[in-house]
């Protein structure tokens, strides 16, 4: 299956789980800003959980399909449409030559969406990863965001990919990305460089995400967090989700494209699920921080990872389900409203998440 880019959208890049292993030579990790959304998208399709996909930012692309395969859109709700009709997200959707994938725009529920395809987006790996790192023009599709006229290939689809069609991520296993939830922080590594009042201010104030919020980091604006002395340290590693507070006292949360090292004090580091939760917010939205222990963070993150293994199990069960008598199978959100005719040819009306569809089919000759 290939995808041709008719319109690239605001910022559409190829990302996987990142370029790990090279931070010691200064190579930023990059990778999906909402890693679990990418993982689930891939799991829905039977791909390796780290297969490359398109990370779509607010205003999505228009893509034309050639060939056959499955796609799954996860993460933010950016108005996914298939052939001009709203299409289901968090679900393995069959596409074929001539189909057009579009995004009608953000709904206020998230900033970044992931378009996964059977077999993953096929671009040459650079230093072990297909993630795009824009600042060094490296990885992904020619090291840059997509442009109109680009054509993306995909890898070998998993065996039995056709049987995966229609599989949907159970609602309770989708990551919660509540834009109002406080972001949970494990204190350290330089919490001791802030005054007790500074620490109290940080955890008891509301911060606004400024316009300087991108894949590298989110700058916040709000009450000043006071240092005990100088805000500079001898440069050390910047962990994913680290909250840097330079001399001006305003937090900067460091994300996927962060520089590997830096010389500013870090009051704490977000727990893993809340890194994605912040990455799904946009400038102008608010953030509050809540101090939790290392042990609490371990429990929270473990619970998230368990959801992923439940998605994996549900997908395996779906793929190995017994043969169906009818060509379409309803789940809780689907209603069949007209009689199914004998296999061979027929039609039905279907309501999926409130949108009506008329589906017709016929058996192709052997």
């Amino acid at each position: 299956m290939k995808l041709s880019v008719r319109n690239p959208g605001m910022l559409t890049t190829v990302q996987d789980l990142g370029r790990w292993g090279f931070q010691q030579i200064g190579m930023p990790v990059a990778g999906a800003m909402d890693a679990d959304a990418l993982r689930i998208g891939n799991l829905l399709l039977g791909n390796d959980e780290g297969a490359a996909a398109l990370e779509i930012t607010l205003l999505g692309p228009t893509l034309v399909v050639s060939g056959d395969g499955l796609v799954a859109v996860t993460g933010a709700d950016l108005g996914f449409r298939l052939n001009n009709v709203p299409a289901p997200t968090w679900r393995a959707v069959r596409v074929t030559t001539g189909d057009t994938l579009q995004f009608s725009g953000p709904s206020g529920k998230g900033t970044r969406s992931y378009l996964c395809v059977s077999g993953g987006i096929d671009v040459p790996p650079v230093m072990g990863s297909r993630s795009t790192y824009l600042r060094a023009a490296l990885g992904g599709f020619e090291g840059r965001a997509l442009k109109a006229g680009d054509t993306l290939g995909s890898g070998t689809p998993p065996a039995l990919w056709k049987r995966i069609e229609g599989f949907e991520c159970p609602v309770d296993l989708r990551p919660e990305r509540d834009a109002n939830a406080p972001l949970r922080v494990v204190p350290g590594p330089q919490e001791d460089r802030f005054t007790p009042e500074g620490i109290e201010t940080f955890y008891n104030s509301e911060y606004t995400i400024t316009n300087s919020a991108d894949r590298m980091g989110y700058r916040m604006e709000g009450p000043v967090v006071a240092h005990t002395g100088a805000a500079d340290i001898v440069s050390d590693a910047i962990p994913l989700g680290a909250i840097q507070i330079p001399g001006h006292g305003q937090p900067i949360v460091m994300l996927a494209d962060r520089q590997t090292t830096g010389g500013y004090t870090k009051i704490g580091v977000l727990c893993t699920p809340d890194i994605a939760s912040l990455a799904q917010r946009m400038p102008g939205q608010k953030a509050r921080f809540r101090r939790i222990s290392f042990e609490e963070a371990l429990d929270i993150s473990r619970a998230e990872r368990e959801k992923l293994s439940r998605v994996r199990q549900a997908r395996a069960a779906w793929t190995t389900r017994p043969e169906e008598k009818t060509p379409m199978r309803g789940n809780a959100e689907e209603r069949l409203s007209s009689g199914v005719q004998q296999a061979g040819a027929g039609s039905l009306n279907l309501v999926v998440n409130g949108t009506g569809y008329r589906v017709t089919w016929e058996t192709a000759s052997e």
Binding site: Q24, I25, G26, V234, D236, A237, P239, T260, T261, F294
Partner: protein
Amino acid sequence: MTEAVYPRLLHAGDTCVVVEFGDTIDMAVNSRMQALKERLSRSGLSCIRELIPTYRSVAVYFDPDAVDPKRFLNMLEEMSRSEGTSSAERTTGVVIPVCYGGEFGPDMANVAAHTGLTEDEIVRRHAGTDCYCYMLGFTPGFAYLGGMDETLATPRLKEPREKIPTGSVGVAGKQTGIYPIESPGGWQLIGRTPLRMFDPRRSAPTVIEAGMWVRFRPVDHAEYDRLAALANKGDVVVERFTRESRPEERKRT
């Protein structure tokens, strides 16, 4: 504030922890950090995802599914306490050819004005003292070098440039460095190297590695062009040298 006791473990989220050996830029501290980093690299522990060594600490990313994180932290604490400095010889040096001044060193006049030295004297001093690479970071292949002749120290530009060409050699305060990729920056540019300091297609993507010595060698424009042509073809011609370790470092090992 209470006095910190080193080495110490610092939390850095739920998948990373930092082991810190000190608060200064110091070869002895750096060597103790390197020793732990080497022990961890050799340990073959599958729960270690990535190690990021810096001047005085190493960040350890771990896989919380592959190990009980609390047990791993205890083990790390124990390993970090065992005495030792790096076993690495730290005698490897790499020569970086630099074409100084002219179009490649647009800020040479600033450095001359600030230091009161002539251009020739700046080149002689910059190329006359070996620098030590403590760590890489910031952007791909950027080497944090220590040991530049301090008489060359010049503050950063008041207005940073938006685009600094790949290979530019600059001075910022007491530091010197080489821009491995085109990036914005405020360093005073005094020359340019024809070497490709960073190339992801090479098996060793960077010319300089942490723990190496760096010696700058002045070259003229013709030699620069010759080396640049080789570099553009993808040939890696890097001259190396061996340097005695510093007396104070030998004492400790």
